[in-house]
Symmetry: none
Subunit: 224 residues, 2 copies
DNA sequence: TAAATTTATGATTATTTTGTGAAATACCGC
DNA sequence: GCGGTATTTCACAAAATAATCATAAATTTA
């Protein structure tokens, strides 16, 4: 179990609903923040940097899907979508991407708590403060990368790419695999996009550039 | 013998759903087979011998549970059940119906791929990590080959060729067989091409060169 | 042993794949 | 909207790989 209290942002336009969910999660030891609509959610997200989001789909103005997409542009934070039963079937068509879990309303608090715990365990389970591979050091919480002690500024995608490759260090990864994991599954464009990001990443990694090996006919591999 | 690409059978009566799931898993490197109903599933299962099943619960005539039971009579293949209602899953926890994982619809591809990867890893272990034949050691995930501990750089085709021959070690393989498996079934080029690749492979294998025996009049055979 | 058959090899050509710069597009904070 | 950044697309050059082919070498057969 994680040491510090994990922060959870609950987004729902119904105060009563927020209150109920909040109560259960507080009792579970989590620190709760609330937002009553999509815009407030985005602000709260930026300010509090929560470790998990619980997003109601049905909200006035900006709905849950929009918020989800918006958040996903900047973060891989675990997201649980709460849908009303009737919508469920419709959403199947959209197969909306980006959320990690879906829960149908009305749900039992027990299920919710179980999913929250599971997601957080998955997300933070193996997250050490900072990890080193050769001359590369990565701190995920801080989103910082150092090469030979010198700090290197990476963009969002570059950072995600580096993390994914390091998580699978020593394994040859196809461009498809990389797209699946770094691009959150909602990308249907050119596979060569990966190449470009590898290029910029290599440039920024300087001396550690060839930790990212090209595996011809397959894709790339991170190897010290 | 376990080939490199794992085979997954998707069973769902909705074509669109199969397509979506399939797309993501293909990109992840899996080989996909599909079935639109329970009976077709059983046939496909027998024919293709998939390494994992994704089973939709709700299907006309023979439902997912029946298929699951039927498969379980003959195999311990990992099975992921997809149910429409998340409550259903909750009700079922504790019951051993034979499935290995349950996913509620609508689910995110991210979850699906994660579970598939995890299940397959669990089922096949990382034992397959790297395999040795005499002085030759092959790590397929890393796409690395060592001869007497020295790393040897192989091209894509050379690597595939070596893997195919090792998978069928001790068997004399015709050039036609080799073309079918290492090249595509729709390859109609010169059979002598195989010879050239065997030549370069032998060169790179150094001391292990004559693990690849010539079988005159037939083709080649890998033998330690 | 010579002829016939099959394989090995080197050289050449063709094809595929990747690296890269630059342009186009999307996105973000103001 | 605007300017700046990030991301994606694209096209072309460079590099690597693959295929073809002619010939040499090896093996089998008669």
């Amino acid at each position: 179990m994680p040491m510090e209290r994990k922060k959870i942002l609950i987004v729902d336009d119904e105060v009563r609903m927020r209150k109920i969910v909040s109560d259960f999660l507080v009792r579970e030891g989590y620190q709760i923040f609330e937002a009553g609509d999509g815009e407030e959610a985005l602000i709260q997200f930026a300010e509090q940097q929560p470790d998990l989001l619980i997003l109601d789909v049905m909200m006035p103005r900006m709905d849950g899907w929009q918020v989800c997409r918006e958040i996903r542009k900047q973060s891989n934070v675990p997201i649980i979508m709460v849908t009303a039963r009737s919508e469920e079937i419709d959403e199947l068509t959209g197969f909306d991407l980006g959320a990690d879990e879906y829960i149908a309303k009305p749900f039992s608090p027990r299920i919710l708590v179980a999913r929250v715990n599971a997601l957080l365990r998955r997300a933070f389970g193996n997250a050490e403060e900072s990890r080193s591979y050769g001359m590369v050091r990565v701190n995920r919480a801080a989103r910082e990368v150092q090469v030979q002690g010198r700090k290197v500024e990476l963009t969002y995608k570059e950072f995600e790419l580096l993390c994914y490759m390091m998580d699978n260090a020593g394994m040859a990864l196809t461009r498809g695999q990389i797209l699946n994991h770094v691009w959150n599954y909602d990308y249907y464009g050119d596979e060569r996009t990966v190449d470009t990001h590898v290029k910029t990443l290599r440039n920024k990694l300087g001396n550690a550039a060839d930790y990212i090996r090209t595996v011809r006919g397959i894709g790339y591999k991170f190897e010290q």
